[in-house]
Symmetry: D2
Subunit: 437 residues, 4 copies
């Protein structure tokens, strides 16, 4: 059965095309910066928003029909979702997908039944993967949606919930391994607090680390060679989430000795919520050697919640791809659309339009980032700007020979430092002239 | 004396030019949408940030030398500033300027002396205008900087301050008229409150209106035919400013019968601070028939203060110019750069770079807005989207024939409304494909 | 059947009581500022969050059982909700309630069936009201939750949806009148836009006004003597809501001639989202003569969405009650708890705890606001601060005798204005010393 | 000479006193939680805002006379400031102060001259300390105000500026040691970036660490036994400051091996700017064993810049003091008022009023925090809430015996976790009933 009936196989037609179902910039086979675009971008479809979510929000019910032709049996729906997902990925030329356990298989009445459903669907999906060549980017467990997680998962005040969380992660990780996934993500949707009045933060943080440590141990024992990721987010659903931003997560990973197994999965929208730019979060991960993967959905700077919009902000995508290129590109990671169409964009066609604008946005970001690097003016400016650290007193500082005393002596003997302009407006002009040419 | 020594006459060289002192997009004589770009955009230089401000911020002293060659006499500095300003405008091809009274002439020891200084500089500037053909866009009085305005100007608790404010406005308006200005702006930098604990809001709002009413009466009596403007801003320096945003100002103008003499001067950065997009504020002004003029400086969505950056955000400029074109373009208004270079961009060259990126940004915004209109897909979509109001029950509603009873009857007799997708992602794709081609 | 089984009749026991199910500050019969506390505060229970909402959020399913003992028939549930609501109000001593049409009666398969359900429940509730003496504060229609409102109600692009909205309002208003309600509220949950790319703002605003005008006409024709209210909110669910804040709504009401029939229903949480304090919004309504009613639920200044928390912020409640007292107190309005317990507070006991903390917070706010007024220091300070407007040049200004010319003459003849300190820190000290004694 | 002429020695008079120059809550000798209030709170006066700042803001000049009787010689002014400061501290009963190098001594024409000025003033202040018994809480260097720091201090692109910064720190630390200071603070006012386009973040972070490492080495070599502190702040003046918040700084300190010499100096206002509550930042420092000192000035949740208000928010101060008590109280740290009066509160009297409200606010916070602990209900609730980790599977988890496999086995063998309510509203009620009794 065809679900995206109006949607043809989407092809690259170039910016001048006015056909809605066509890529204007994304041409997967085109070589940019030494690699095919598709290998740079490693686009992934997320199961949840694309195939499961129905458009409800805190003020309204679902607008989207996700019954896949009026189905009611949960396992039948799960298979239909898989069929629809692979159909969509095939039509879009997307080569990876991501899943939560509960996205691909319905929860049963008991944990045992849920587990059974999960592995039944793993088999089913394995078949679809074989048929299409589509691969798993990463898997994860939804340890935030059900009432048992109302006070957290690893950070729950209830040890039974911790145990349940661990059990779910075990199965989700097994499923990930079984499907050849190259990554496993922790997004701690309820790992945080609502009020310090009822919270033991010290225990919760330790427990959060404990579950990650157990997972690494288990995963490595099962031969998992991929990356574990933490996905930073500052708030929502909880008032304060422990994985606030990249710097917070990196500090946490170091504190608990997790930084050689974990990397970061950075989401644009979560950067916005934390008061950062997307490229800032990527740069923080990069300079700490912990850049891993990306959720490309964007937010709205005027809105204080997770809008999870499909990306359309080309300047932001360009700055993001600059960071990705500078970090050496993706290895196990990729560019996942953790995004949802607006509630009023309720048709299957809209999902295709949304992926097209998102993929085109990052294609353009890649092309432009590469042009900026090849242009060279910005990089040269930066190199020159810090050149005082490559000689004289600057070299002494960087190479550890300077002390407060030696630097005071230098300062007493030398005139006031001569400053150079930071030239920000000039650099913004260069950026724009490359973006819009 | 030449102040911007490194800066040549800036010419249009096109996007491929890598010469820093060149326009990549702005070509004043090029005809777009039936008019020359320079007549669409009516760029204006603002005296204050460009010629007066020295780069101090709450955490640091000035970084920029604004002594114009080591001058110390205030009137000499004022003349040098004027010379430098007209030099810069001439080099950039900017045909308008804006001023505060205290920007163009130093305050004296007494009000009388300040007045004398002001009109001496009016004469001087008149000479520069005649030489160059550059015109005044609008004038205004700085009724916020001096200690006497610490509790407001028109909204001060001190009637003597109200009087002083009125006296300053009289002279600033006289100067504006004398220089042939087409607009006079009210920006109420201290018209607001710090705490309700010491504030009589009702009196303050009435007094704010009283001063505007007096000003209109006086200005019209002197033959001023131009527009009065209010510039909305939500906060900073005061905790709450009465001119919060476009909708608030429009409500105020209507309440006090000022809406036939006043229009709005919308600033991008102030929109951001109010939690709006720039295009939203412009649209609100437009649909209320009160669109007037624009301050084009942008903010930073991650920062909560008035950064007054030179604009570089092309998508935002495009959406803004769409609104300007839909409002019929500027009549008396124009596009003023109420912007300052960053504190670290402390040279005169940086000022030129900043204007170049700003002017190019709006040039591109105009070009792209015109392309969007000529492309027609978006406008056609919108027209079609609301077509149900051009016939049947929709027409009855719009033309005033419907009642709750008639609409209930209609609803009882008809099936559930059939919804169409809002197609936001598709439209964002069109927008991008026009922006980046 | 008793639903709040653990909850006894809540009585005033004073601040020293450590019994959870007791008021510490609220003593309905105590006379404060010349009236019983209950008549000042006119507390109302909101149907929706209290009786209907199940604790779902964008990241998790419901945690609260709202089946009222495992019921499945929608009308049975509706009656059980009414029973539970009246039980709770009786136990708490709350004398008013508020409803949306869909809260009190389930939607049917057709509009006609929904209408029938509604009026069946109106009869049922009328019986409960007669039994208990509890009154209706205001009613409203939920014109935002169903898919037909995805693009707005009065501001929908679809005229059929406009008609449907009007029909729902007609019935909700009829129900309000039938139940003796003293108010009818418009909260435009979808009256706004997601993107200007697909929006005709001018038509949408006109249509929003048209529906209000029709409603006033209809209501008055049916003998409704109460107040219509608009409830401002800046965003969520839509990106921009037309009823952004008090000033915006007041401007809208004036523009469309609605200001003699409408007042404002101010919500604390919505003030926060708009970047205002709660007391600011109340003051704006007051000085414009449009203060009506209050939704007392608070937000979290660090979160960007509508948390709808039960109020516990006593300083804020005190400043709010100061405004309410200065506005002359409630007439038809009251203090509604549009609030929900946190998702992790999922028991019926928590609902009672939440109302207790909320009612105590406002009781304390009232007591303290009255003490501030009786103390007199703050009011005296303010009166004195503006005393320059009661004589001399200030009186001339206020009474319309001053002109720019006369004020310039005054300024030329008088010395620099002598400023007095605003004494904000001193006033904050007084405020605290009254709050904490 | 007496500077605060209207200000008497401030005494505790209790909440019922209506004398402005009196403490209503702060009674330094009163014993609370086993210690005198003054030893708990260790209040400190900050030199800069109290004695130096003149009330300028980005939109207006100074309103406050800081010439100390018309002085013009910088060293004379410096001595007068010291006199005024010790007079104020004596009158307020404040036993500590804090300084930046440039607050206590004017910068000279050369670095050598600045150094001479500094140590001349150190001698002068030493005399005042001996006279009054007032002690130094901590010292610091202002490495952000002068043009040489426009691109950062340790993170400057200019190695000469790095050297200059080091030299200044050497002297400020020497001065701190000389004055018996127990702490030395790094607040990196320009340690951040304006745009990634011109920034080498990796080098900048390494250099920031290098300067701290040098400082520790130097300080310890000079016998400094006190604490080094970093003061987190997310932004302003730079767009992004590297010391964003407590978690970020802690991660940084750990990364560079600085966490045994450094602690955190947490500022309430900076927490607000980072999107956190003040108590959150304190809790993060506490659970990481890095709680050090406090800047008590508060911000305004509706404003996006550093307002540095004197604290008046008692609920916040109570939650903060709860964290301070839980961290074991201050050792070397204290409670510094890094606060300024509002620009309109321009008299010396206002400074005294401001300190009074600030000290009373924290006195009340301490009293109430102690009452909450002695009341015990909240702590008991929390202890009980996490009790599942003291036995059975929870104990296995905490003590490292659990694995994913063992936890899956447990989950398979046990029923769905049974959740308990988080009781947030109930706990908020307890908090309020203690605060307002």
């Amino acid at each position: 059965m065809e679900y995206f009936k109006n949607v043809p196989k989407i092809k690259y037609e170039g910016p001048e095309s006015d056909r809605p179902f066509a890529f204007k910039y994304y041409d997967g086979e085109r070589v940019v910066a030494g690699k095919k675009m598709k290998d740079h971008l490693r686009f992934a479809m997320s199961w949840w928003h694309t195939l499961c979510a129905g458009g409800s929000d805190p003020f309204g019910v679902e607008t989207m029909d996700r019954s896949y032709g009026g189905l009611t049996d949960p396992m039948e729906i799960a298979r239909a979702k898989a069929d629809a997902g692979f159909e969509l990925m095939t039509k879009l030329g997307i080569e990876f997908f991501c899943f939560h356990d509960v996205d691909i298989a319905p929860e049963g009445k008991t944990f045992a039944e849920s587990k059974e459903n999960l592995f039944a669907m793993v088999e089913y999906i394995k078949g679809k993967m074989a048929e299409t060549g589509i691969k798993l980017l990463w898997g994860t467990a939804n340890n935030f949606g059900a009432p048992r997680f109302m006070h957290g998962a690893a950070t729950s005040c209830n040890a039974d919930t911790f145990a349940y969380s661990a059990a779910k992660i075990k199965n989700a990780l097994d499923a990930t391994i079984e499907l050849g996934g190259q990554g496993y993500v922790f997004w701690g949707g309820r790992e945080g607090y609502e009020t310090l009045l009822n919270t033991d933060m010290a225990l919760e943080l330790d427990n959060m680390a404990r579950l990650m440590q157990m997972t690494v141990k288990y995963g490595r024992s099962k031969g998992f060679k991929g990356d574990f990721y933490v996905e930073p987010k500052p708030k929502e659903p909880t008032k304060h989430q422990y994985d606030f931003d990249a710097a917070t997560v990196i500090g946490f990973l170091r504190k608990y000795g997790l930084d050689s197994d974990f990397k970061l999965n950075i989401e644009a929208n979560h950067a916005t919520l934390a008061g950062h730019t997307f490229e800032h979060e990527l740069a923080v991960a990069r300079v700490n050697g912990l850049f891993g993967s990306v959720d490309a959905n964007q937010g709205d700077p005027n809105l204080g919640w997770d809008t999870d919009q499909f990306p359309s902000d080309v300047p932001s995508a360009t700055l993001a791809m600059l960071e990705v290129l500078r970090a050496g590109g993706f290895t196990n990671g990729g560019l996942n659309f953790d995004a949802k169409v607006r509630r009023g964009s309720y048709t299957f066609d809209d999902i295709a339009y949304a992926y097209i604008v998102g993929m085109d946005t990052y294609a353009l970001g890649l092309i432009k980032a590469d042009e900026i690097i090849r242009d060279g003016r910005i990089d040269k400016f930066v190199k020159n700007r810090y050149s005082s650290y490559t000689k004289g007193i600057g070299k002494d500082i960087v190479e550890g020979r300077a002390t407060l005393e030696s630097l005071e002596k230098y300062t007493l003997e030398n005139p006031e430092p001569v400053m150079e302009s930071g030239r920000q407006e000039y650099l913004e002009g260069i950026f724009n002239s490359i973006l819009y040419r």
